[in-house]
Symmetry: C2
Subunit: 255 residues, 2 copies
C-alpha cells in the first residue's frame, strides 16, 4: 500500500519493523532466511530491506554471517525510557543496599510490563526479570502495582480479556483480581506468590507522579523466603516516593 | 530509489531511520514539523512515515502532541548489547562497592564509545557518561582502553583522521597519541586528565575476550582527586577480568 510496496496491504515501515522484531532475547543473531521466515517478509524484499538496515547501522552483520540488532538502535531505543532510569537508579541502589536483594524498575507498555533497569549482585537468585523482559501485568508484582493505579476504565478493559495463566497460582478470575487490585491500591504495594513462576514470590511499589503510575519498583525472592516480603515494603515504598519526587521535579509536565 | 520513494536516491528505510535519529537526549519529544526539519524528510512523507511508525509502536504520541521514541524500540534496541550488560552488572556493583565511585560500562561503536550501563549512587559527581552517551574514543578513559587494544590497522586509521579536541588537554597529535596508546596497551589500563571535560579525570580497564576488547569499565572523578586514580586501577582490572571470564563462558563463539 504505502511506500510503493509490491506486497499489498503492508507498508515498508511495517515490514522494516517486522524484520527488527524477528530478533528477541532467544534470537540475538539471525540469518537472512530466518529473518524472512520469522518476519513474514518475502525473501527478496527481506534481502533488500536488511541491506538498507545494515547500511543505516540498525543491523550489523557478525563474523558468523548472522545479523544482529545494531548499537545505533540501542542508542535510539534508549531514548524511549527518557530520564526515568537515570533518575531512578540511585534509589534502586538504595533498596539493594538496604535489603541485599536484586531490585528492578518496570514500566507499563500497552497491557504488559517492561523491565527497564535492574540492580543485581552476584548472589544467585531467581531471575524472572532480566532487563528487556516483557511480562503480563496481573501475575507480576510490578504489574499489579501499576495496574491497580490505572484509571477504572483501563482496569475494567484489562479484566475483560482472557488472562494468561502462567502457573496454577495466577489470579485470573476477574472478580477476585479486581478485589486484589483494589487492595493493592489502598495499601500502596503489591505481593505475588508463585503467580508468574513457581518457586518465586515478589513485592512491588508503584511510582506515582501527578496521580499517574509511571513505573514500579520490585523485588523477587525464592518462595521459601515469602515471610520476608513484608520487610521489603518500606524500602520499596520509600525509594518509590523519592523517585516520584525527583522525577516530578525533573519533568514537570512530561508524561 | 528502493521502496517506491518519490524522493529519488533515498530508500524508505533510510528515511525511517533518519526520522528515528532526529530524536536524541536533548530532543526526547518532537513535533511533526521538527521531525521533518531535523531528519531532512519532506513534511508529507514524514507525516505518512510517522503515522506508520506510530502504528508499529516505534513512536508514541504524548499528551502534549509531541512524538517520542516508543518502548517497542527500547525493547528491540536493548538486544544490540546482547548478554554483556546482564553479565557485567554484578561486577560494576563490585567496583562501586569497593571504590564508592560511579562506574560505567562502554562499548565501541564505529569510532565512538557508547555508554551502555552505569552504576551510580546519590553522591554528586561529574556526570559525563550518562547511559546512552556517545563520545569519541581518544579523549575518554574507556575509549583509550578500547582503542589501545584494537588491531594496528584500526589504530592507524583512527589516528589518520582529524581528531576532535574537546579541551586544550586532549591529546590529538598522532605520534603522541600512538605512544600513549602503546603504553595503555602494555599497562592494561588508561588514565585521562581533563581530556574530555575540564574538571574531570578518569581511569578505565578493557574487557578482553579471545584477544579482542569487547568493552571497558571506567570511573570518572573530579580532577582535584586525580591522585586517587591509581587506587581505582586494581578494582577496575579485577572486575574487567571477571567479566571477561563470565562472558567468554556464556558466549564461547559470539563476538
Amino acid at each position: 500500500m504505502a511506500g510503493g510496496s509490491r506486497e499489498p496491504g503492508r507498508s515498508v515501515t511495517s515490514r522494516v519493523l517486522a524484520i527488527l522484531r524477528s530478533f528477541d532475547g532467544d534470537h540475538l543473531g539471525l540469518t537472512l532466511t530466518e529473518i524472512s521466515r520469522r518476519s513474514g517478509v518475502a525473501l527478496t524484499t527481506a534481502h533488500r530491506l536488511v541491506g538498507e538496515l545494515e547500511a543505516s547501522q540498525a543491523l550489523t552483520r557478525a563474523q558468523d554471517g548472522r545479523y544482529r540488532i545494531g548499537l545505533r538502535l540501542w542508542e535510539i531505543g534508549h531514548l524511549a525510557a527518557g530520564r526515568l532510569p537515570e533518575i531512578a537508579h540511585p534509589w534502586l541502589q538504595e533498596v539493594y543496599a538496604t535489603t541485599g536483594e536484586n531490585v528492578h524498575l518496570a514500566v507499563r507498555d500497552g497491557l504488559d510490563v517492561l523491565y527497564v533497569d535492574k540492580v543485581h549482585g552476584r548472589r544467585a537468585v531467581p531471575i524472572v526479570s532480566r532487563t528487556g523482559t516483557r511480562l503480563p501485568m496481573h501475575p507480576t508484582g510490578v504489574g499489579k502495582a501499576l495496574l491497580a493505579h490505572e484509571a477504572d476504565w483501563f482496569i475494567t478493559s484489562y479484566l475483560e480479556r482472557r488472562l494468561e495463566r502462567p502457573t496454577p497460582h495466577t489470579i485470573t478470575e476477574p472478580g477476585r483480581l479486581a478485589r486484589e487490585l483494589a487492595s493493592v491500591r489502598s495499601q500502596g504495594y503489591a505481593f505475588t506468590y508463585e503467580e508468574m513462576t513457581l518457586g518465586s514470590c515478589s513485592a512491588a511499589a508503584p511510582i506515582i507522579v501527578d496521580g499517574r503510575p509511571i513505573a514500579a519498583l520490585g523485588i523477587v525472592l525464592a518462595s521459601r523466603r515469602a515471610r520476608e516480603l513484608p520487610h521489603m515494603v518500606d524500602p520499596l515504598r520509600a525509594s518509590a516516593a523519592q523517585i516520584a519526587r525527583a522525577y516530578g521535579k525533573d519533568s514537570p509536565s512530561v508524561t
